[in-house]
Amino acid sequence: MLDKIMKTQLFAWIDKRTGAEAIIKSQLTEYPAPKNLNYMWNFGSLALLVLVLQILTGIFLVMYYKPSAEATFGGFTVAFDSVERIMRDVNFGWLIRYMHAVGASMFFVVVYMHIGRGMYYGSFKAPRELLWIIGVVILLIMQGAAFFGYLLPWGQMSFWGATVITNLFGAIPVLGEYIGQVLVGGFAVGDPTLNRFFSLHYLFPLLLAAIVGGHVHALHVVHSNNPDGIDLHKPEEMIPFHPYYTIKDAFGVAFFLLFYCYIVFFNPQMGGYFIEVDNYVPANNLQTPAHIAPVWYLTPWYTILRSFESKLLGVAAMGASLGILFVLPFLCRSAVRSARFRPVYQIMVIMFFIDVIVLGYCGHSAPTATLKVVGQIATAYYFLFFLALPILPKFEKTKPVPEGI
């Protein structure tokens, strides 16, 4: 169908003024992709899909949402009331809002899978270091956007989550308290915070959209890695992106939507993981919830924070745990990319994935003495994994890498 469109006069007119034909050829119909990519390579397109869904549903939510912490009858606020109005009185408002709330969690599901794939198959290694680094920037902005967005319904967990996280800045010496106050817009989370976070929650996805453009551009310069992690040179090892990967991605999208829509329509709270129970209770600055925990996708880093007695050390460790991702391409010195041919790295990286899940579990649960120790062990392994990478090639015996695919 695409080639039929490209033969029309209208297309010729556009092509003369934009160079559309060259772009379509170089980026789609003649863009070479390895023929052996497995289904783990679907999560990139899924992440793009969810980003678009989040931006679209967000635009419609903002048409009805009111960012104001002004009190209304019964201990509620204008912001909380406007969310309930969307859920109850706006036509299909419940659908848009559940899509957005579930979408936030699903965004992290697909992005974490995408990152995990990159780590397992060594996609971060030369020449794709910058592609990986741009990806880490995307992750940080996503986490920021999710954190800002979670304040907007002005429920108990919105309020207390924001209070806990913004108080962390106080631990940073000299400037910390000032940064915290600028972020909050006062001495405690309140109406100015809500307006600030709302503004930033609208800004960050726009940044994301732009940086994702950079991520895709960087990918199209260095091209996709593949499950064997080897450089491909022969033309018979490659297939054009369109139609092969467009149809494979389309199939992946439909398969993903099955899960996404099942949650949206039948279990939108996901047992308190996607929308926390406490967030159905309006924010009350006089009553701290029994147990404050961030949403599941931030809990691994929350555990790292809580694993240290000193608040400053905790904040530093949490920052380091994200910052160390930037230097992963330079820590990993092995000449072999894929974990398929690196037996020790394979065990280490799978344990790393389990470790992050354990960290997430610890951060989500009410703190106990046992969980604290588990969290500390998991935190230690998190850093140990990265710090062992530079010396790993010294004793790891890699398996022979295939010549081609």
Binding site: G75, R88, Y98, S365, V374, I377
Partner: protein, 231 residues
């Protein structure tokens, strides 16, 4: 060796975490199952009656308007029935208790929470509401006055005095009281998310469509890829 030990320690610790968490949720007794049916108009209407006759003495449900009682097919009251319920209030008004929050604080020491979102807003949902209503007992230590000791409420001491008069009920009243607790839990579960039935109904069509779409795209993918040689 080291890794297996580490993994075993990890698993053991996580399991211990589970059990200690279950104990930490104490103060609240185990919840009983609330029999609620979101498609049973009779039950939701009976629950509405319990709500207006008992709960609304103190509690409000400000997100549920009198117009909503007509508009939601799950309740579907007639205009006459709604007019009788609302009295002088406007159709667009929420269901607000006649007891002012200030007076409630004076009488009970605490503002009665709005019940619009009580089911999604409590762990255990409808089961929690049901179990709370039939959870009143005499304080075994004799410290808390009768009607303020509840076996499921966190900390056991509750400001809401036994709304269904569950404490010391006669044996032949039990079935009726339990039914009232089931019904009002159903009503509260419904108003917590009043579009839930529409949502599930649409969801079935969406899932059906997506299953077909996935199937078609899967076959199409296989068809497009059939020329690509495996290595």
């Amino acid at each position: 060796m080291k890794t297996t030990k580490f993994l075993m320690a990890m698993v053991a610790a996580v399991l211990m975490g589970f059990s200690s968490q279950a104990m930490a949720s104490g103060g609240g007794a185990a919840l009983e199952h609330a029999e609620v049916d979101m498609t049973d108009q009779e039950q939701i209407r009976r629950g509405l009656t319990v709500f207006t006759d008992v709960c609304m003495g103190c509690h409000s449900a400000k997100y549920i308007t009198y117009r909503g009682l007509m508009a939601y097919p799950e309740i579907g009251l007639t205009r006459e029935e709604v007019d009788e319920l609302r009295g002088e209030r406007s159709l667009m008004d929420g269901m607000i208790s006649d007891l002012s929050i200030e007076d409630a604080v004076v009488s009970y020491g605490k503002a009665p929470p709005d019940l619009s979102l009580i089911v999604p807003g409590r762990r255990g949902g409808a089961d929690y509401v049901y179990s709370l209503l039939i959870g009143y007992e005499h304080d075994h230590e004799g410290k808390v006055p009768d009607g303020n000791w509840n076996k499921v409420f966190p900390g056991n001491r509750i400001a809401m005095p036994d709304p269904l008069s569950w404490l010391d009920h006669e044996a032949d009243e039990e079935a009726e009281l339990r039914q009232q607790a089931h019904d009002v839990s159903a009503f509260l579960a419904f108003i917590g998310d009043p579009h839930q039935n529409t949502r599930r109904a649409i969801g079935c069509w969406v899932m059906g469509f997506l299953l077909l779409l996935t199937l078609v795209l899967w076959r199409l993918k296989v068809e497009v890829w059939k020329d690509v040689k495996k290595h």
